[in-house]
Homo-oligomer: 212 residues x 2
Amino acid sequence: VSRETVLRHRNRKGEGARLRQDILAAAAQLLADSGDADALTIRAVAAACSVTPPAIYQHFSDKQTLVRALLQQQFSVFRNVLHEAEAGARDACDVLRRRCRAYVCFGAEHPGQYSVLFNARELGPSSLGIAEGEAHPGAAAFVDLRASVEACLVSQGKPRESAGLVAIELWAFLHGFVDLHVTKPEMNWPPTESTVDAVLGHLGLMNASPAN
Amino acid sequence: VSRETVLRHRNRKGEGARLRQDILAAAAQLLADSGDADALTIRAVAAACSVTPPAIYQHFSDKQTLVRALLQQQFSVFRNVLHEAEAGARDACDVLRRRCRAYVCFGAEHPGQYSVLFNARELGPSSLGIAEGEAHPGAAAFVDLRASVEACLVSQGKPRESAGLVAIELWAFLHGFVDLHVTKPEMNWPPTESTVDAVLGHLGLMNASPAN
DNA sequence: TGTACATCAGTGAACGCGCGTTCACTGATGTAC
DNA sequence: TGTACATCAGTGAACGCGCGTTCACTGATGTAC
């Protein structure tokens, strides 16, 4: 916990706001290192950026506010990762496949981040203090997925009306696959790429072109 | 928390073992009432069966031991629920469909139990002190699912070799669907029965017979 | 150019809480004589 | 049949821990005159 003895220099007078970024970065690093959303405590975050716990409260009024800010930032990271994974895709179905693979990879490689993004229970939407009509910060991620499914269906001449249901099916699979992978690493799982491809095939979301 | 003032009579001399069953029952009830695996604390369990915390330790050497016992019991309940759901099935595919519907229903109606069964993270297999070669108590549940998938495939003249992969796909969907339902209740989800049926159809696990 | 001062970026100590767990104990109850 | 005693099923108080959060403070730094 004192693994990072970054002899920290106190920020100059007008520059207190820098700590805010440091806090969010340290929180993200904490999730990455521990792989566990429960490790995300005010005290651990403070220690991770070489500051005492009360310093946090100059930038976030309470833990919930910090977690919400972190959530926003991490969802943006997550969406970017999926978007960048599209690069070089041949067609709409290839886009979708790349996104799905990237989704599973992200979850497997960043279980802490993924967990705080999608597994949040007591940190969940309602208890996160998100207002009634307000959108969940992760809603945009699902909208992206749905749009990609729809584009893939349309490109194959299939009805776009089924996109909603198929997107739910696909999301449930992706989420369950990541979650089971992380919570049950002792099982011998089939390769993720081929499993994702198999599901896309079953859902009618793979192109006929055989190129891998 | 003192909602149940069951003026408890201390067990007679040879009958101390009765408390063990009361503890497990109270723990299960606690999961049912709270719907949250985090509510499962030694102190809450003790209070729920009108006993002081140290009394727990006459029957379980520590919390991990209690959770393991509860896990065994709850997995048995879960398997029974799925088995009983088979009653009246017309064929192997109908068996599978009934099991899948029951799976999702169980998860949605008993989020606390489901969570302790399948979401356990820090309570997870490795940290639960399950020995290296030892089977996870939930492994039998997956074996059941796989067998049901295989029977369904065979009944349709499809190769049984694909059962393993298809069972993984199906499990990931079922688990993800339950987990997303529980953690994101504010989303407007499509009806569970038709969604489960749609997935079974996509995976080639539905009979052609149109009867619902 | 020099100095008094307001402000800013944090610190250090403490709070109350619930947790798992321990320890010495108590009072009822069955049993041996 | 009556009594002493060992045992059993718990109790009550306390421990150390990490948590989120609060409060009064301190020392460096930019600014006004």
